[in-house]
């Protein structure tokens, strides 16, 4: 009898253990589904924007334009439409008289890849790329007559990618050889964007010499920054093409482009892979990154969160029927009033009319301060010379 009781208790213990195990398993299973659901809603953005800036002028800075256009190309390929991209190119390389192949910008030597393409829309070109315009685009303080394609119409659920390239130094980036933007100004602009709720998350990539100095001063939340070189280091260019005669791309962006060519809209590659792009052996400079202001773990941030425009699709099973008959639509126009006499075209060179044209009446302006002062002086001198008694003869 003594042996049965421990056996029973052991069985009961085993059953209890089994039950517990089942409960744990069940909990783990439901936890897995919940995890999946959470993953679906992980990133809080609903739309994507990109601001791509090339700040250099002159033919020998061909590579900066090629850098910007290759990022533009990748971003368009992954789904961000032209209406959501603000592309700023400070000089025109494709139709430059020095370009041996007009309307093309190449990124690989031997002219393999034309990053300019046939469907490019440049929003700010040539002299319009200034520090003032760039900051106005970011902060939204734009004159009211600016067209839509030149505005950054982001909201608080937008993920924005900002890519800048050009010549820079410790704490500044040079715009078109005539002005600079400092890292303090840039940090303040991002803070203004944060306070106006113009972004959900921001990815800032910069490919210039001493690029890491540009993100040192950021203090707004949800910003992740990458740079091609540390303070004190120069970013180097990749390879020249002997036919075109200049360097075609910078090293960091060249390897970033190579990395992005393998990304497709459904890929799950995360930011940690982007941080590994271009180690010192390939880039000669040390790329840097800054993630302390970013809420999420870079491990969980997908590349397509910033470079692509991945939409969440809801499928519905209702049927919607469209009206085939459109004739009723056309008949709503009001009746045209016909002119009573035939209209005519204007004569292109009416010589007689032009010769006898009355000259435009110049608008009469009241005399300005100088003329009034001069006349007052003359009158005063006259009366002082000849005495005040002449006044009654004048008036």
């Amino acid at each position: 009898m003594a042996a049965a009781v421990p056996g029973l208790s052991r069985a009961r213990a085993a059953a209890a253990a089994l039950l517990l195990g089942c409960c744990c398993c069940g909990a783990a299973l439901t936890g897995g589904v919940q995890d999946q659901a959470e993953q679906f809603f992980r990133s809080g953005h609903t739309n994507n924007w990109a601001v791509l800036v090339c700040t250099s002028r002159f033919w020998f800075n061909y590579r900066h334009v090629a850098n910007t256009l290759s990022v533009y190309r990748s971003v368009k390929r992954l789904g961000i439409p032209d209406s959501h991209i603000v592309l700023m190119l400070a000089d025109d390389m494709a139709c430059n008289p020095r370009n041996p192949k007009p309307a093309t910008v190449f990124s690989h030597k031997n002219m393999e890849l034309n990053v300019y393409g046939d469907d490019v829309e440049v929003d700010y070109r040539s002299y319009e790329v200034t520090v003032e315009n760039f900051l106005r685009v970011l902060t939204g303080r734009i004159p009211p007559s600016t067209p839509r394609s030149k505005r950054l119409l982001s909201d608080d659920r937008s993920n924005i990618l900002i890519y800048m390239t050009g010549h820079g130094g410790n704490g500044f980036l040079k715009f078109q050889d005539s002005e600079e933007i400092t890292n303090v100004e840039l940090a303040d602009a991002f803070e203004q964007m944060w306070q106006k709720r113009r972004y959900n998350e921001l990815l800032f990539i910069i490919d210039t010499c001493q690029g890491a100095s540009m993100y040192e001063r950021f203090y707004s939340p949800n910003i992740m920054a990458l740079a091609s070189s540390q303070v004190g280091e120069d970013s180097l260019s990749h390879q020249p093409d002997l036919g075109i005669g200049v360097h075609l791309m910078d090293r960091y962006t060249f390897y970033v482009l190579e990395f992005l060519e393998e990304i497709h809209p459904a890929s799950q590659t995360n930011m940690n892979d982007l941080f590994q792009v271009c180690p010192k052996s390939l880039c000669v400079s040390t790329p840097g990154h800054r993630t302390d202001l970013f809420q999420r773990d870079p491990q969980n941030v997908l590349i397509t969160d910033f470079f692509g425009s991945v939409r969440k699709v809801e499928i519905t099973t209702e049927t919607i029927s469209l009206d085939r008959d459109l004739t009723g639509f056309e008949s709503k126009f009001p009746e045209d009033e016909l002119a009573t006499e035939p209209l005519k075209y204007a004569e292109q060179l009416p010589v007689a009319q032009i010769i006898h044209q009355k000259p435009k009446q110049k608008d009469w302006h009241p005399p300005g301060g100088f003329i009034l002062g001069l006349w007052a002086l003359i009158i005063m001198v006259f009366f002082k010379t000849y005495g005040i008694k002449h006044m009654k003869h004048v008036f």
Partner: protein
């Protein structure tokens, strides 16, 4: 019972349904697209290709009642309605049309961007509407048209009469601006192609590939919107959108030195079909014989028809390929028009156009200079008038008392002259003159200027490139060699209908001269930095020395006894008999 009958009638009416409105309420709004391509070999061996896409819509855009756009692009239709635009002409050009060597252009545009607009009389603030219009167009065409402001806008008083229907021409409603520095590239071609009903997917627009179009001597794309007569009686208005693209392929860079051209050689594409939305789609090839000889140009495949017309005062013969005729694509799926010369062309007999002009900057140094314009009238016995419009930026200060017009050694006084002086940083110079050109003469117009010094912040980022002066415009009624009669408008090439002609004895032509590139005295932009460094150094040295002089006091210092090492060394030196440290 009456009530019951009325009720029954009412019920019947309700059941029968709504009575159709009065007959004729709202005619069909017809819109039509005509596309054509004109290939004309030029005397120098190059070939010019002109595309014209004309969308015509029988709706009154000004009334604002339109909401259903079919072929007419909505972006431009809304623009015309919202801003009260009567006529709009925008051209973006790269290169220069060499009238002397290539002949009269079908439609010329100045280098850079040119925009001229006639507003409706109902617009009260024309300047505000002009500014808004240039901003909107800069967004549509990806061009920096937002740089158009009062410093480069003028109001011509005699040129640029409206090309569409007009009743009264008050020149206060006209604005004209040109941006000579504007670059034209694929980003301007892309939105232009998107305005076409078929895009660049069908019809003649498949030939428009940027890589070939910009590898040329002259590339000009334009948009013209104007109201035209709906039919011969001209009682109703319809709106016409005309998109033209002219490109000149160079014999050496595109043609590899050979004069034989084909569509594939020019565009690296061939035509496969017409645009399904087009009511007419034709290719015209100019096979006019030169100097009344037998024709020496051969076209393959054989054309659908041959059409003769008097164009720009001269008799021209065109081989026509109608893409909508079913017989064209019978033998092959694609149409590749080839032009071959039967015998080598004599290069010495190049026809000289009746009117051509050139302009250049004279003088030396960075202070003064002069602008010289030469206008050539090569007609043997006819004289005709020409209006010259010059817009000079304010930083070249013109001296109008030095304006001289000399023809055949004698002074030529213009019949009409309008000069509006510039205001610094506000308005450019405007000079408009109506000059009579005697037969077979050269007229030289000279005016001297002085260069102004700009403020430091007004220089562009590349000031050593120079500053552009926009092209001058010459508008003339050139006498025709052959009298033009009323031709069948439907058959002629489209560009013949752009300039409305009043009589057949002369035709209207608008020519542009070269833009000028002038160097202004540019400062050394590193000087502020140099001055700051130098001043700070001088101040530091002076102040530092002065401060030291005033506050430095001298006092005697006790020599220190020395550390341990020194004392030990002194002891050893005493033993050696050497003087101590």
């Amino acid at each position: 019972r009456g009530m019951a009958a009325a009720a029954v009638l009412l019920l019947l009416l309700l059941v029968a349904g709504p009575v159709p409105g009065r007959a004729g309420a709202g005619r069909e709004r017809r819109d039509a697209l005509r596309e054509e391509l004109l290939l004309s070999p030029l005397p120098t061996g190059d070939v010019a290709a002109t595309f014209q896409f004309r969308t015509r819509w029988d709706a009154d855009l000004q009334r604002g009642a339109v909401s259903h756009y079919r072929l007419f692009p909505k972006a431009l239709g809304r623009l015309v309605a919202a801003l009260g635009v009567r006529e709009l002409h925008l051209a973006l050009t790269q290169g220069f049309w060499r009238t002397r060597f290539w002949g009269q252009p079908p439609l010329q545009a100045p280098a850079g961007a040119e925009l001229w607009v006639w507003f409706q009389p109902t617009v009260t603030d024309v300047d505000r509407a002009w500014k808004e219009l240039s901003n909107i167009l800069s967004g549509i065409f990806c061009a920096s048209l937002n740089f158009i402001d009062s410093t480069n806008t003028v109001t011509p008083t005699a040129s640029f009469k409206p090309l569409g229907l007009a009743n009264g021409t008050d020149h206060h409603l006209l604005r004209y601006a040109v941006l000579p520095r504007e670059v034209v590239c694929t980003e301007n071609l892309t939105p232009w192609k998107k305005l076409l009903p078929c895009g660049s997917k069908a019809g003649l627009a498949v030939l428009l590939k940027a890589e070939r179009l910009f590898h040329s001597s002259y590339h000009s794309q334009a948009v013209h919107i104007r109201p035209v007569c709906q039919d011969a009686s001209c009682l109703a208005v319809s709106w016409e959108l005309r998109q033209t693209l002219t490109v000149v392929f160079d014999i050496f860079s595109s043609g590899q030195g050979k004069k034989d051209w084909s569509l594939f050689k020019m565009f690296s594409r061939t035509l496969t079909d017409a645009c399904p939305l087009a009511s007419q789609s034709k290719v015209y090839v100019d096979i006019s014989p030169k100097n009344k000889e037998k024709e020496l140009l051969e076209v393959t495949p054989p054309p659908t028809s041959v059409h003769e017309a008097v164009v720009q005062g001269d008799k021209k013969t065109y081989a026509v390929y109608d893409l909508l005729s079913p017989s064209l694509f019978n033998t092959s799926r694609s149409l590749n028009v080839q032009l071959k010369w039967k015998r080598p062309q004599d290069s010495s007999e190049m026809p000289v156009p009746v009117l051509h002009a050139q302009r250049y900057v004279g003088g030396y140094g960075l202070q003064t200079g002069d602008i010289c314009t030469l206008i050539y009238n090569t007609h043997p016995y006819r004289a005709f008038p020409v209006i010259l419009l010059e817009t000079v930026p304010w930083y070249l200060r013109l001296y109008v008392h030095t304006l001289t017009i000399i023809t055949k050694g004698k002074e030529n006084k213009p019949s009409y002259i309008h000069y509006q002086p510039a205001q610094d940083r506000r308005r450019p110079h405007l000079l408009e003159m109506l000059i009579q050109l005697p037969a077979n003469s050269i007229t030289k117009i000279t005016i001297q200027f002085e260069r102004a010094l700009l403020k430091w912040t007004e220089y562009p980022p590349d000031p050593n490139h120079g500053f552009y002066v926009g092209s001058s415009v010459l508008s003339a009624l050139v006498p025709s060699v052959i009298a033009m009669k009323d031709v069948d408008v439907e058959q002629s090439p489209l560009f013949t209908s752009l300039f409305p002609s009043s009589d057949g004895s002369s035709y209207f032509v608008r020519l542009y001269t070269e833009p000028l590139l002038v160097n202004l005295p540019t400062p050394d932009f590193s000087m502020p930095y140099n001055v700051i460094c130098l001043t700070c150094t001088v101040v530091a040295v002076c102040y530092g020395s002065f401060y030291n002089l005033l506050t430095r006091t001298f006092h005697v210092e006790e020599p220190s006894r020395g550390g341990l090492a020194k004392r030990l060394a002194n002891v050893i030196r005493k033993f050696r008999g050497v003087p101590p440290l």
